[in-house]
Symmetry: C2
Subunit: 162 residues, 2 copies
């Protein structure tokens, strides 16, 4: 799923509770499906479909990539999963949280972080005022230069006049 879903988020606290939510929606709890959930619950960061299919480097059984994409898609449709895009490169998937997350990414080093949307409300407001657009950084992040790379850049500049 390369497109952003707008289903309200469903925050599950465990694989078991997520499975429960699947059943409530008459979705089957297949091995492949459960594996995707287990990978997402086990991970501490957004995963690519490839990483999930590979079984998190052996921690979990490997599974079919196409099925992983399909399952991520259905899970996202019901609100259990969210994904965003880190510049070029594959999409990154994670469990949905009650409050949607937004992202910032560094175009130099590739670092990224999730941020609470409220921290971006002021900026969002300014953008709305100036352009009339309502910005959303949950599917496509704010791209720029992270603090570390900014520091590196200043470092470089400084040795011109030691």
């Amino acid at each position: 799923m390369t497109v952003s879903h707008r289903t309200p988020p469903l925050a599950a606290s465990s694989v078991a509770s997520a499975v429960e939510l699947l059943r409530e929606r008459n979705l089957r709890v297949s091995a492949a499906r459960r594996l995707v959930l287990e990978a997402l619950f086990a991970a501490d960061k957004p995963l690519t479909a490839e990483e999930i299919a590979a079984g998190l480097e052996g921690w979990l059984p490997a599974s079919d990539l196409a099925s992983v994409y399909r399952n991520l898609d259905t899970l996202e449709e019901i609100g259990l999963v969210r994904h965003f895009h880190l510049g070029h490169g594959p999409g990154r998937y994670s469990l949905a949280t009650a409050d949607e997350r937004e992202f910032v990414a560094c175009e130099l080093c590739g670092a990224f972080e999730a941020v609470d949307p409220s921290r971006l409300d002021a900026a969002r407001e300014l953008i709305a005022k100036e352009l009339g657009y309502e910005a959303r950084f949950s599917h496509f992040p704010i791209v720029g230069t992270c603090p570390a790379c900014l520091a590196d850049r200043n470092q470089e500049g400084s040795h011109a006049h030691p």
Copy 2:
């Protein structure tokens, strides 16, 4: 070229002056190269490599897609061309302007516009203060909902209580 270049922009006013700049850099002025420039000068909006290769629907001779990409890349490297990414979908290329452009895009209808970076400085400042990141919307735009789609959405909501 899927990556952003940081060469200072070179604003050319015509194909001839752009060609001049190529010669100054010891780059050859081949037919294919000139065609890319002609397409960009003829267009009133950012083009995809595919559109350029197709000769703008017959206005110009068609050319090889791989060469178009290579030429856009070299032109971008010397600062004559810039490109940005509209969500998924191919990159969009346009002639560089003396002042860099930044972009906003609507994730619902696909519309996008170029904006003067100064109009986003306040938002950029807020983001820097809040996250420490220096945001740049010239390669990856601000993604959100455009005024028209926002109006549509309100329209929909309103007929609940006429």
